[in-house]
């Protein structure tokens, strides 16, 4: 009888422990969300969305003003390549990067075949830091937008400029496709990261602060470089914005068009789904070198006769290029 009684007390002890632990956890979670915010309430799960300009609004501006505006947007492209990816490098040089106001290629080490800035490191976060530092030091006076991409990304700079048209570069902008990780909202590096000159300036200054923005990363474990960037920028008051068109479609895509089409259709095999992608999309990642050439043709050349657009801006084709 005594044994049974003992088991009973053990059992109830366990159950009491479980209940108490559960309650502890609930309370802790609730408090954690409010305490860290400084008690300002639960606003941690709001996304920041940034839309493309409204074309009707744009057309209201006089033509001279619109032309002036389109010329004031100067984009510097920072393209990260590696020695193993010569094919990707070549296709970026031969295709979309010709439409950047300036394209600078960054690589982990010096390579003879193509012109690039050697970052002398294989660590992706240090590469990102050094690339942005180099861009700021060398190009801060002539460019007001800085666009960091991977070698597998195809970008349409005209659509990027259209998107940036009504955003003041003297304001801190950090734009791309955003992802939430806990309380941190960061721009995914694979689909491209855009910084205004103001954001880049703030980043440049905080990169020197080894307490807030250390080279080895801000946590005990390794975070990806896109998260590290977001943490550093957050210290300077710069938050990430997700770029969308006026229908809410993503402008920065971490997958290529084929993948997006197949995914959208596979999820709903018995339905007719809406077109996956924006007409003024800016990036698609995950492209092979050959695909870059197909995209170049598809974007800048292939079109149906008899369809014209009344666009508010005018971008001329680059000099000395034959595939656009």
């Amino acid at each position: 009888m005594r044994g049974k009684a003992k088991m009973m007390t053990e059992g109830t002890s366990f159950v009491k422990g479980v209940m108490l632990g559960g309650m502890f956890c609930l309370v802790f979670t609730l408090f954690a969300n409010t305490e860290i915010r400084g008690g300002s309430g639960l606003r941690s799960h709001e996304h920041h969305h940034l839309k493309a300009p409204n074309k009707e609004e744009l057309l209201k501006l006089p033509e001279a003003k619109r032309l002036e505006l389109s010329l004031t947007i100067r984009v510097l492209c920072l393209i990260m390549v590696t020695p193993k990816e010569i094919g990707y490098w070549a296709s970026a040089v031969e295709t979309w990067s010709k439409h950047c106001d300036k394209a600078v290629f960054y690589s982990p080490e010096t390579i003879k075949i193509f012109e690039s800035v050697s970052l002398a490191t294989a660590d992706k976060w240090i590469q990102t830091r050094k690339a942005f530092q180099h861009a700021y030091e060398n190009y801060k006076d002539n460019y007001n937008w800085f666009f960091l991409v991977e070698s597998t990304t195809f970008a349409i700079i005209e659509n990027l400029k259209f998107f940036l048209l009504n955003k003041d570069p003297e304001q801190p902008f950090y734009v791309g496709h955003t992802v939430k990780s806990g309380d941190l909202e960061y721009v995914e590096s694979s689909s491209g990261v855009v910084l205004s000159i103001e954001a880049l300036e703030r980043l440049y200054r905080i990169l020197d602060d080894s307490a807030k923005c250390p080279e080895k990363g801000s946590l005990l474990w390794k975070m990806s470089q896109d998260k590290e960037l977001a943490v550093c920028l957050k210290y300077t008051g710069v938050l990430a914005d997700n770029a969308e068109d006026d229908e809410g479609k993503e402008l920065f895509n971490s997958k290529n068009i084929n993948t997006l089409v197949v995914e959208a259709m596979s999820k709903n095999p018995n339905e007719v789904v809406e077109g996956c992608c924006s007409d003024v999309a800016i990036t698609f990642d995950g492209n092979s070198p050959n695909h870059m050439h197909v995209l170049m043709y598809g974007v800048y050349r292939l079109r149906p006769y008899g369809h014209t657009f009344n666009d508010a801006l005018l971008f001329m084709p680059p000099v000395g290029s034959d595939n656009d």
Partner: protein, 379 residues
């Protein structure tokens, strides 16, 4: 968690734990004391285990609830034909199911001016007939139907058997490569008998050909349908004036169609081979139908026997490949391969149909001034 578990003494200086935490700590502390008093170590252990487990379970539960809902593609409407199945075939999941409609994005095209294209739609009427078969309806023809074929003035899907639901025309032949010319002959005869006055030009395409019908209209607008002429990607072997690649698609003028049908009545043309494109070329030569030049004003090819990647990539097609010897006009690889106003590509699988639809009609560089102007005089 803050360090220092103080037993709820209100005279404590320095920091105060939030009230809830104090309460829980107190409860745990009391319980620990109880256990210690009873000297039951096992109970204490069980309690602690329970505490840990409760915490973990709760934490997992909260995380699961907080997980973002997965992105849903925006659904438009149910396919009116219900569940299309590959009923005769194994592995239905390998094929692309469903459909995608890019044309629902009307707001993205509010600033699009289609007046020239709409004019041509009325002036240059095109009947497209698509060579398909019962086994390809759900896997290939369906995606042709969902994309480019909508832009033809009339579209017909030609199969060996009639299918009232799709719908397809039943030609009364068997399926198979050796039946291709029979199918072509019967298809053109069917079109002649039922739709001669519905169109001016008659285009044959495969269920893996992608056609930009607007560009076909532009090409044909410079000719009269009463001219005996046909267009496509011209190949030079066997026929002096050349013949048109079957896969890249070819288009007959109304006069050419009349002469084709007439020739079978009189026996001038017969089914002498199953090599459809060659046979068609031979017949066209026999009835004095001209093999037209379908290149654009810069002499760039518009009909393409392969997908874009094959033509645009340097060194994709080896120099020893038959293609280079077959092309009537000197063919190029790389950007010079293809006109901006391309008319067709061949060997296009179902997902690439949507890709090309998006690339041609939707994705564009905002404000960009295209280099090639089709309306300016040739260089």
């Amino acid at each position: 968690l803050e360090q220092g578990q103080h037993h709820g003494s209100t005279e404590e200086p320095g920091f105060h734990l939030p009230l809830h935490w104090q309460l829980h700590l107190r409860l745990s502390a009391h319980y620990c004391l109880e256990m210690a008093v009873r000297r039951s170590v096992i109970s204490l252990l069980m309690f602690c285990c329970g505490l840990g487990l409760g915490f973990v379970i709760c934490h997992l539960a909260i995380n699961a609830i907080n997980k973002e809902a997965p992105l849903h593609s925006h659904l438009l409407f149910n396919d009116p034909h219900g569940h299309l199945e590959d009923s005769h075939h194994h592995q239905p999941h390998q094929h692309l199911q469903g459909e995608m409609n890019f044309n629902a994005d009307i707001s993205q095209h509010k600033d699009e001016n289609r007046s020239v294209a709409d004019e041509l739609y009325k002036k240059v009427r095109i009947l497209c007939w698509v060579m398909t078969g019962p086994q390809n309806l759900a896997t290939k023809a369906k995606h042709v139907k969902a994309t480019w074929s909508k832009k033809c003035n009339v579209v017909l899907f030609m199969s060996s058997e009639e299918d009232k639901d799709f719908p397809t025309v039943g030609l009364g032949v068997k399926e198979g490569r050796d039946q291709l010319y029979w199918k072509t002959i019967k298809a053109f005869h069917y079109v002649y008998e039922h739709h001669l006055n519905d169109a001016d030009w008659f285009m044959k395409a495969d269920d893996d050909t992608f056609v930009v019908v607007d560009n076909l209209r532009w090409l044909l607008s410079k000719y009269s349908p009463d001219q005996p002429i046909f267009f496509g990607r011209k190949f030079k072997p066997y026929i002096k004036q050349g013949y048109m690649s079957g896969g890249a698609g070819y288009v007959l003028s109304k006069e050419a169609l009349k002469r084709f049908v007439d020739a079978f009545k009189t026996g001038k043309c017969t089914h002498f081979t199953s090599t459809e494109d060659l046979a068609m070329g031979k017949c066209m030569e026999t009835v004095d139908v001209e093999a037209g030049d379908s290149r654009d004003t810069n002499k760039k090819e518009t009909f393409h026997p392969f997908p874009p990647e094959h033509h645009l990539s340097k060194s994709y097609l080896p120099k020893t490949f038959w293609y280079w010897n077959y092309c009537f006009y000197p063919a190029e690889e790389g950007p010079g391969c293809c006109s901006d106003l391309a008319v067709s590509f061949h060997y296009i699988d179902s997902k690439t149909m949507y890709y090309l639809e998006y690339m041609t009609y939707h994705l564009r560089p905002y404000g960009y001034k295209f280099r090639y102007n089709p309306d300016s005089p040739p260089k």
